[in-house]
Every structure is written in structure tokens, then in C-alpha cells.
């Protein structure tokens, strides 16, 4: 799958490859109301990674349903909507709108965006608040409910177990790690928001560790992500316990990377005697 916020609505990649080879596309983070996002500059390149502070720029779920959904609904892959909010009420109302869209088989509940002042990550950093938002959305959302976890917590396994208990059908992780970049020449922060979310290969060891830890305590499938640049990285996440993976930042560097990873996974299985890609899941020999 492609990670939310790194693949637009899929349309942006049509010139580069046929997205029907993907398991799914997570569309840009969607909120109840239109959001302008944060001021420029929103991005800083860092060693083996990047910081972003886009701040969930999107036109709101009603615009999505009326204008974007009709364009993308017949794409030959699973189009999942990443749902974000500032209050539980926001999450519920947004999920209700998406629930009515026939061709959207699931949502990814984003309780982990570090770039929105009034919420987002706040829900994903404590068990009670994570449980409350997942339970509330579970009541109104009838299809697949994936919950995306924040790595900015002390005990990720505890949060994973809590959202599973609250009704999540799957768990995706990790969202970006809260970070910061400083310009020594200007003596100013690089980002307009001072802090932002770190992604790319720099976060991969953290992401792998968290996937591993959550896989030890939950039964629902885990969707692993965090710095996956190639098929070997994807294999590593699956061995650590992920049933599927998302690719994010790598899409910016090679827009065809996801198609290459799909091919590379098959090739790995052939070369290493696995009949099915799913046989890799949790096959780590500790």
C-alpha cells in the first residue's frame, strides 16, 4: 500500500505506473472541514530522511465525497481514506460520510498526526483517549477500520493492545516521529511550525522495533511502515510481524518504487523458498 500524504489521491502517479499492482492506496488525510494546512516552509531534508509539517491540508470530507471520490472510485485497487480530526465528534462525522461511499472498503484512523496543534496525535498518545476515539468511530463505521499509531509514545505495545480491544480491524504503524531542524546560518528553525514529523530511512529501526513489539501483543493484522525504500526493507517489516506494508517518503524519490517493491517481494519469496508472501509474516527467527 501507499502511505497517506505521500501518494495524493493516486492520480498524481498515473503517468508513472499502473497502480492496480498495489494492494491499496491510502489517500491524503481527510478531515471534516477544509484545512489550509501550515504555513511554508513545511519541509526540511535531514540525513536519510525528511521532516514535514504539512498539517493535513485538504478540502474536507464533503468535498472529497462530491468531487474526488467520483474520479477515483473505479481505480483497480483498494482506495482507503485516512481520516483525521481534532475532536471525537469530527472523527465520527467524517467516518460517517466515508461509510456511505460504496467503493471505499476501509478507513485508516489517523490518531497520530504530529502537525496539527489541536488534536491528532493527542488521541494516539494515551490508552484512554485512543480507546475513546476508536470505540466511537467503530460504532458508526461498518467497514474495515485500520488505526494508525503514533511512535511518539513510551509504550507502543500498550496502545496497540488498547486499540485492538476498542475494535480496530488492523493497526498501521508508524506515523512520523516528532523532530526538529535548525538552520545554523539564520539561527532559526527550518519549519514554520518549529517541529515536524520525521520520515524516511532514518526512522526505520524505530519503526521495525515498534512493529515487532505490537506484533507480540495483538492478533489483528499489522501494517508496517517507516522508511521502506525497497523490497528488502519490506521483507524486514513482514518478518518483524507486519502482514502488509505501506510505502511513504520513498514515493517522492522514485514515483515507481511501490511497483518495484511488489516485484521484489515476489522475487525474494522465489529465491528464499517461500510459497506465499504471507509466509514471511512474523517469520523472524529470534
Amino acid at each position: 500500500m501507499t502511505a497517506s500524504g505521500t501518494f495524493g489521491y493516486g492520480e498524481e502517479f498515473m503517468d508513472f505506473f499502473d497502480i492496480s499492482c498495489l494492494g491499496g492506496v491510502l489517500v491524503k488525510g481527510t478531515t471534516l472541514e477544509h484545512r489550509e494546512g501550515n504555513a511554508y516552509p513545511r519541509m526540511a531534508e535531514t540525513p536519510q530522511g525528511m521532516l514535514n509539517a504539512v498539517g493535513l491540508q485538504n478540502k474536507g470530507v464533503h468535498y472529497f465525497a462530491d468531487h474526488i471520490y467520483p474520479r477515483i472510485k473505479d481505480y483497480d485497487t483498494h482506495m482507503l481514506v485516512n481520516v483525521s480530526g481534532s475532536t471525537i465528534e469530527d472523527y465520527i462525522k467524517t467516518a460517517e460520510v466515508v461509510n456511505e461511499l460504496d467503493k471505499i472498503p476501509g478507513i485508516e484512523l489517523n490518531i497520530s498526526c504530529p502537525n496539527v496543534k489541536e488534536g491528532g496525535m493527542a488521541f494516539g498518545t494515551s490508552c484512554p483517549s485512543a480507546v475513546s476515539v476508536v470505540e466511537a468511530v467503530r460504532k458508526v463505521y461498518k467497514k474495515h477500520l485500520m488505526v494508525k499509531l503514533s511512535p511518539n509514545v513510551t509504550n507502543i505495545a500498550e496502545i496497540g493492545a488498547a486499540v485492538e480491544g476498542a475494535g480496530a480491524d488492523s493497526i498501521s504503524l508508524i506515523n512520523t516521529l516528532l523532530g526538529m531542524a535548525v538552520n545554523a546560518k539564520t539561527r532559526k528553525p527550518v519549519l514554520s511550525t518549529v517541529t515536524g514529523g520525521l520520515s524516511g530511512p532514518a526512522v526505520k529501526p524505530v519503526a521495525l522495533r515498534m512493529v515487532w513489539q505490537v506484533s507480540q501483543v495483538v492478533k489483528v493484522p499489522i501494517v508496517g511502515m517507516g522508511g521502506i525504500m525497497n523490497a528488502t526493507d519490506a521483507v524486514e517489516f513482514m518478518l518483524a510481524g507486519a502482514s502488509a506494508i505501506q510505502v511513504g517518503t520513498a514515493n517522492f524519490i522514485d514515483p515507481c518504487v511501490t511497483a518495484k517493491i511488489v516485484e521484489g517481494l515476489e522475487q525474494y519469496c522465489q529465491e528464499h523458498g517461500f510459497d506465499r508472501v504471507s509466509d514471511l509474516v512474523g517469520a523472524l527467527e529470534v
Binding site: G37, M43, P47, G49, F252
Partner: protein, 256 residues
């Protein structure tokens, strides 16, 4: 306009001075159509600190030979690595990206460039000339050494210059040049690219004299094709991606 990802071959690396090079890149087949103002995203693979592609303006196109020129100013690690590319090296591009300059409704046009911002103006000058319009250029730099590729511009039209130290042309910034001091300018359209402070004063001059002005922004980008939403410009319609809604904007559309 369809986007591509291809390996080009470096066939020439011409060093202009201590900070500028012009790379000539050979397309593996038939170079697709591109418009002046568009840019490419160059992959730089050599170090941990050059993780993202670098957005670079298309400086010139040679359709007959399927080559493209990029003017590169070495301002950081990524552009320095690009400056070290040698004949025969591969250079992976995502291209062509962004919108383009529009053709003017009236024929009297001035193209104003500062520093590396002159890059897209050569391609635009050639495009104007091909459409029967004689462009005038106003190019500014800190010193004489920073005024680059002048001969290529002179082949297309009249070239005015300014330098901050007065070593050549009018002393000062582009806005100090006589063509921009007159109260009744004989200009119908301005195209400008360069430092934002320069473009802002050029845009202000254009607005004060009822001249249409298109500016090409150089906002930092990650993807270059509308997926990451990192490069936004503040416009009267809210945040717009410099990579897909720009890089060329009518100056009155920006909240400047």
C-alpha cells in the same frame, strides 16, 4: 502534460565559474515536448544528506538533438554533487514538471532574472523568439563573474545588466536599471525569476505600471508533482502547490 522518469546521459558539464555549471543531458530516445518555465527533479544519489531529488529549471532544449540543458548553482551538497557529474554519467530525471510561462498578448516583453533565476528565461526567450517576439532581458548579479550565459541571451535579444558592485552594467539591483526607472515603460509584460526579494520589487513595479507580471517561484520541494504538499505558495485562493499550480504564477495571484 504527461510526466516521465528516465535516465539521461551527461554529455557535457561546462563550468562557468566557481559556483555555476551548465549540464547538457542526452535523452535516451525522443525528448518529449516541454514548455519554458517547467522544471525537472534530479536524483542525487551519492550521500546520506542528499536524500530528496533537486528541482531544477529547464534552461534550454535542443529538440533536434534530444538534449536538455540545466543551469546549476552549487549552493548545497546536492547541487555540488550535480556540479561534479562527468561526461557519460547517468542522471535520473522526473520531468517535465509544473506549469509554464504564458505567451504575451502584446509584443513588448522584459525578462528579469537574478542569480540562478536566469535559468528558465533562456528557454522562454527562445520560445518568444520562435513566436515572433523580440525579448529584452534584464539580468542581475552580485558581480561581473555572476553574470553568466550572456552570449546565449544576446543571441535572442537585447540584454541589460546590473551588478551590485558596479563591476559591469548598472550598479545596484535590477530595479535600479534605467529600463525599470521610467514612469512610462515601453513594456507590456514582465517575466521574472530569481530571489524572492527581487521578484517582489519587480512585481510591485509591474503592478504600479499596469504591466502583467509572471513570476517563477523557487520554493523548496520534496516530490515535485503534487503528492507531498510541501512547496505551497500563499495565494488569494489559499495554499497552492508551487510544483503543480506553479512554479509560474501571475504576481497578482500571490499574497505579496
Amino acid at each position: 502534460m504527461k510526466k516521465y522518469i528516465d535516465d539521461f546521459k551527461v554529455i557535457k558539464n561546462e563550468r562557468l565559474n566557481y559556483e555555476y555549471v551548465i549540464l547538457t543531458l542526452q535523452h535516451p530516445g525522443k525528448l518529449p515536448a516541454m514548455m519554458p518555465g517547467q522544471f525537472v527533479e534530479v536524483r542525487v544519489d551519492n550521500g546520506p544528506n542528499t536524500f530528496l531529488r533537486r528541482p531544477i529549471s529547464i534552461h534550454d532544449i535542443d529538440e533536434a538533438n534530444n538534449t536538455m540543458k540545466l543551469l546549476v548553482q552549487e549552493i548545497g551538497e546536492g547541487t555540488r554533487l550535480m556540479g561534479q557529474l562527468k561526461e557519460g554519467d547517468n542522471c535520473n530525471l522526473v520531468y517535465p514538471l509544473g506549469n509554464s510561462f504564458s505567451l504575451p498578448e502584446k509584443p513588448r516583453v522584459l525578462l528579469v532574472g537574478g542569480g540562478c533565476g536566469i535559468a528558465p528565461l533562456l528557454f522562454m526567450g527562445r520560445h518568444l523568439k520562435a513566436n515572433g517576439i523580440e525579448p529584452q532581458f534584464l539580468l542581475g548579479a552580485r558581480t561581473e563573474e555572476g553574470l553568466i550565459a550572456l552570449e546565449a541571451f544576446r543571441a535572442l535579444g537585447q540584454v541589460h545588466t546590473t551588478t551590485e558592485d558596479g563591476s559591469v552594467g548598472t550598479k545596484g539591483y535590477v530595479i535600479h536599471h534605467p529600463v525599470m526607472r521610467t514612469h512610462e515603460p515601453e513594456i507590456d509584460m514582465i517575466y521574472t525569476c530569481g530571489p524572492e526579494a527581487m521578484m517582489k520589487v519587480v512585481a510591485k513595479y509591474a503592478r504600479n505600471h499596469n504591466i502583467t507580471c509572471e513570476v517563477s517561484l523557487e520554493n523548496h520541494m520534496a516530490c515535485g508533482f503534487g503528492a507531498c504538499l510541501c512547496c505551497v505558495a500563499d495565494t488569494i485562493d489559499g495554499h497552492k502547490c508551487t510544483c503543480t499550480d506553479g512554479p509560474v504564477f501571475d504576481s497578482t495571484y500571490l499574497k505579496w
